[in-house]
């Protein structure tokens, strides 16, 4: 009789701990093993790139063609560059030309290659209180500044944020850090647009995110495109392998393969064919 109780107690403890432990270790080990095989290329890119769905569409073709497995981490531009600098990834796909050039100059990356571009647009309320519609970017920004209309910034060192800062400079204006009408959200593009929508203000966004916002709003978006097509609004994407001299562990050959493939004919065609909600988003522009 008491043997049964003893057995029950032992059985319970054993079963519980063995199941929990071994299950967890086993499954975790599986995952580690895959990474250890080392066939996987690790890329850092930006959330705005990933959120368009382009990578989910494009990368399988790369794997099929080259047999190289690729994983990517999407985060802010600042962090992506940091990951490259820290040798935690093998290759970058970002859209912040000035920062990229810096990155290469410092020796963190090599062979920067322009791959494609999409564009930025200035959006704002349909009533357009600052009257920026159709203007050139510089004039538009000056109009917003002088009329003190709300402008929402990413404020997070992202590619979009860096672009925005460049545009203020081009318009001969100081970055309106201290102005009350200048709001910094510190968040991703869609939340930033939502903030602008709530405040009925203006903001700078990449075209792709606007397309998604517009579609989600089911034909009645709070904000519409007011300024587009200006040459300075081009958003250039480039591929940069991390410099093997800076990081001995990076899979440089595979990174190089990716760079070559993305500027090659097949990839460039696929990029051009990619549609977001029925509209083309990217224009391939890799040098032949």
């Amino acid at each position: 009789m008491e043997k049964k109780e003893v057995f029950r107690k032992i059985e319970f403890i054993l079963v519980f701990s063995i199941t929990a432990l071994s299950g967890a270790i086993f499954f975790a080990a599986q995952d580690s093993k895959a990474a250890e095989e080392g066939a996987t290329l690790l890329m850092a890119t930006t959330t705005s790139t990933d959120n368009t769905g382009l990578l989910e569409y494009l990368m399988p073709a790369f794997t099929e063609k080259t047999g190289i497995d690729i994983k990517w981490i999407s985060t802010g531009t600042g962090k992506a560059l940091k990951l490259g600098e820290n040798c935690d990834v093998d290759v970058l796909l970002v859209h912040a030309p000035q920062a990229e050039i810096d990155f290469v100059d410092k020796g963190f990356g090599i062979d920067r290659r322009e791959i494609m571009y999409n564009d930025f647009v200035l959006i704002g309320p349909p009533e357009d209180p600052a009257h920026i519609k159709g203007k050139k970017v510089s004039e538009a920004l000056q109009a917003i500044g002088s009329s003190s209309n709300v402008f929402v910034s990413r404020g997070d060192e992202s590619g979009t944020h860096k672009m925005e800062r460049t545009l203020w400079k081009l318009a001969d204006m100081q970055i309106p850090e201290q102005e009350t009408w200048y709001r910094q959200s510190g968040q991703g593009m869609l939340p930033t647009i939502n903030v602008a929508g709530e405040l009925q203000g203006y903001t700078l966004t990449d075209h792709g995110t606007y397309i998604k916002y517009e579609s989600a709003a089911e034909g009645k978006p709070s904000l519409v495109i007011l300024v587009e097509g200006d040459a300075v609004l081009l958003n250039q994407y480039s591929v940069i392998p991390v410099n093997p001299k800076h990081c001995s562990n990076v899979k440089h050959e595979k990174a190089q393969t990716l760079s070559n493939w993305m500027s090659g004919e097949e990839a460039q065609r696929l990029i051009g064919e990619f549609k977001l909600l029925g509209k083309q988003l990217f224009t391939p522009n890799a040098a032949r």
Binding site: L21, A24, A28, D31, W72, D88, L190, C247
Partner: protein
């Protein structure tokens, strides 16, 4: 408000249709949390016992430190562990960054203070007649430790439940160390963060409900355990 309704409907759809991305996220969550909980229980219970049972010079100070660690923000832990696991960091060669075991390491830092503090409290709160009884019946130090821990098992179970809840639902560590890589280190919580930042609030709610379901399942089994012991 519609997105909450949408969320409920989507949650059912995801689970019943066995949406592969969702199930991959569930698997990642369970693997990371399971590993973290196993490690923190194995380490934390004995440490908690030592802290609760013995009287030593720095006892009060160590207790304060442990209690303070209960307030570590997950992003902070994520940053610190990232610094350890990054390529040029002390554990860089281990290649744990952007892996499930890497996330688990961070989550252990989150869960360990909870286990230690609550186990120590349970041991201290144990009736001092227990100690007298155990010694009187002839137990040596090791037997006293084992029997005491068994006596306060309900307190330890409470510690485990609390820590599990914390670990299942954290985002900061999984994001920083896991990288939110689809199919690999995207957990339910990082997926929620992603969907929300994309504006897909309905999906965010759906995934949140899936996580609640997992937590419910875990707690039902733990409740069954509580009754049996």
């Amino acid at each position: 408000m519609d997105f909450i309704q949408d969320g409920f409907i989507q949650a059912f759809a995801l689970l019943l249709n066995r949406d592969p991305a969702t199930y991959s996220a569930i698997s990642a969550t369970l693997r990371a949390s399971g590993l973290a909980m196993a490690a923190s229980l194995l380490l934390g219970i004995p440490l908690g016992y030592l802290l609760g049972y013995f009287d030593f010079r720095l006892k009060k100070q160590i207790r304060i430190i442990v209690d303070t660690l209960l307030s570590l923000p997950t992003v902070f832990i994520g940053l610190v562990i990232y610094a350890l696991l990054t390529r040029n960091g002390p554990l860089g060669e281990a290649g744990l960054l952007f892996t499930i075991p890497g996330i688990a390491i961070g989550q252990v830092i989150l869960s360990l203070p909870i286990i230690i503090a609550l186990t120590a409290t349970a041991v201290e709160a144990a009736d001092n007649k227990l100690h007298i009884t155990l010694m009187s019946l002839g137990a040596n130090r090791r037997q006293i430790a084992a029997s005491t821990l068994w006596e306060v098992r309900l307190g330890i179970l409470a510690a485990a439940v609390t820590a599990t809840g914390r670990v299942l639902t954290e985002v900061g560590i999984s994001l920083m160390i896991g990288g939110n890589i689809k199919w690999h280190t995207r957990t339910i919580t990082t997926a929620i963060a992603l969907e929300t930042s994309k504006g897909e609030f309905g999906m965010g709610i759906a995934l949140g409900l899936v996580l609640l379901l997992i937590a419910l399942t875990v707690n039902i089994s733990l409740a069954g355990l509580r009754r049996r012991i």
